[in-house]
């Protein structure tokens, strides 16, 4: 095969995928940046260049800042706890405990449920008066509380649901990594008289670091693109207490139809993801070279 025909074949094979990627990833990403400098077309008035107006609107929009802070809290609340639980689950399931298969299945099940179904179930769990949480707390004598209805607890409720959904998914990566650790390390550590905790802290945990990095990057990206449960459980309320950045974007874009401003919010979201992307890219490259 000549070099020329190899080039032509190569590009022809790529063409369908690249064309669709260009249309639905590259073009919209660039168009978003351009649109963020233009006004939203209203009726007969087309969109005009407005410079940084949309970004000024954003700076002055208290809901944007609330949503950004909520997203950060959501990430900080969800990720460390899910990772810690995932490691604990993986350590347990990796040992020859009783009912290991059933236990692993229980941990993993939330992963394959639709987030919207999960949210519906938990919505009932949190319901004032009738909900299971209220019933249980009621018998313990805890005063009634509207968990999803009060700004002080709503975000925490949403975080709990996300942890429940994600921990079992992260567990399987840790489980795979634990099984890669050479058995002679445990034997050597035991000869040295290391306790199990020391073995975990000094041997297993450091060896799990690449997995933790991988899970971390995915979890952070995930935290900025999960909104299904917010749409079902709280619609961003009460008083924007659970409005995440992507939810705010959804509202501005598809409830207020303010596409110019929505483009500016998308641009910020893309900037956040691009920053995270460096970590992700760095990591993927390493995986490529491993093979």
């Amino acid at each position: 095969m000549t070099r020329l025909s190899a080039s032509i074949h190569g590009w022809l094979l790529l063409l369908p995928a690249l064309a669709l990627l260009a249309l639905f990833t590259h073009f919209p990403a660039v168009a978003t940046l351009i649109d963020s400098f233009y006004s939203t077309p209203r009726g007969a008035r087309g969109s005009v260049y407005v410079g940084l107006d949309n970004y000024l609107t954003m700076v002055e929009d208290p809901v944007f800042w609330t949503s950004l802070v909520n997203s950060i809290w959501f990430a900080l609340g969800t990720i460390p706890i899910s990772i810690a639980l995932a490691i604990l689950m993986a350590l347990w399931v990796n040992d020859r405990i009783a009912g290991r298969t059933l236990v692993r299945m229980a941990y993993f099940t939330p992963t394959i449920l639709p987030m919207i179904a999960v949210a519906n179930i938990w919505l009932f769990f949190y319901t004032p008066q009738y909900g299971l949480l209220e019933q249980v707390l009621g018998t313990l004598g805890v005063p009634s509380h509207n968990w999803l209805g009060s700004p002080s607890t709503a975000l925490t409720c949403v975080i709990v649901v996300a942890i429940w959904k994600e921990a079992g998914f992260f567990m399987i990566f840790y489980l795979a990594a634990l099984q890669q650790i050479a058995p002679h390390l445990a034997e050597a550590a035991a000869l040295e008289g290391a306790s199990r905790w020391t073995f975990f802290r000094r041997v297993q945990f450091p060896l799990l670091m690449p997995t933790t990095l991988f899970v971390l990057v995915n979890a952070v990206i995930g935290a900025f693109r999960t909104v299904d449960h917010v749409i079902v459980m709280t619609r961003g309320g009460p008083d924007n207490a659970t409005s995440l950045l992507l939810f705010h974007l959804y509202q501005v874009g598809f409830s207020f139809w303010d596409t110019g401003y929505a483009a500016a919010i998308t641009a910020v979201l893309l900037a956040i993801l691009a920053t995270l992307a460096f970590g992700q890219y760095f990591f993927l490259e390493r995986r490529v070279h491993y093979r």
Partner: protein
Amino acid sequence: MNGPMRVDPYEPRGVARVVESAGAALLALFWVLPLLYALWTAFHPAEYSTRFTPDAPLTLENFSRAWAAAPFARYFLNSFLLVTLVLACQFVLCTLAAYAFARYEFPGRELAFLLVLVQLMIMPDVLIVENYRTMSRLGVLDSIPAIALPYVASAFGVFLLRQTFKTVPRELDDAARVEGANALQVLMRVYVPLARPVYIAYGLVSVSYHWNNFLWPLIVTNSVESRPLTVGLQVFSSGDQGIDWSVICAATLMTSAPLLLAFLLFQRQFVQSFMRAGIR
């Protein structure tokens, strides 16, 4: 591992094993509790939804009421068509692109690969406003292809298959070519069969993702004819006609049932697939 079983010195024994098993089981119980609770509510009359007595009568009434209250049959069909369409297109597009990246030398290959990887960071979920506009320009709003289109060229699929194709020995490729097979025949006869486990893994993850996907279908559809199950469920359960919780629970379980049952039957394959192709 091969060879005689080695004894893990940190494997818990005796009391430690009992304590650890109990802890693991307790967390597992806590983990399935919401699901068990939904099952209880869905299979019992509404007045028992928070009264857990062993003599509560079982019923399928909630399921039949949910089924009658919304066009769930149509939603099931839509979701089925959606995941089939997405998966079929993903397999074809990603296979071709992965083959090019794995086995062709051509100018611009590295740049093209970078352009593909961009989608790992900038996922369609975030580009909803612009993609909605594109669909509107193409005149395909409110259709199943509109839900599928942004996802069919999957960077992750390309990446995963490229990694797999790279491990295929060159000699197999050469042997097939010596026998007169052209590039596509080599791909179909040598590469695709060898990558079968990866296709299964990627397929399971893709089907789960698109069966469960919600935000983009919610935005781009607004009729019974194109709505997938997730959006149908949301329209049904947020309706203001005062549907009771037992019926919503039944509908929720119905929506999750196909994947849940498949998972219970093929647990090992699911876990391994998500591990292999887990980045989604």
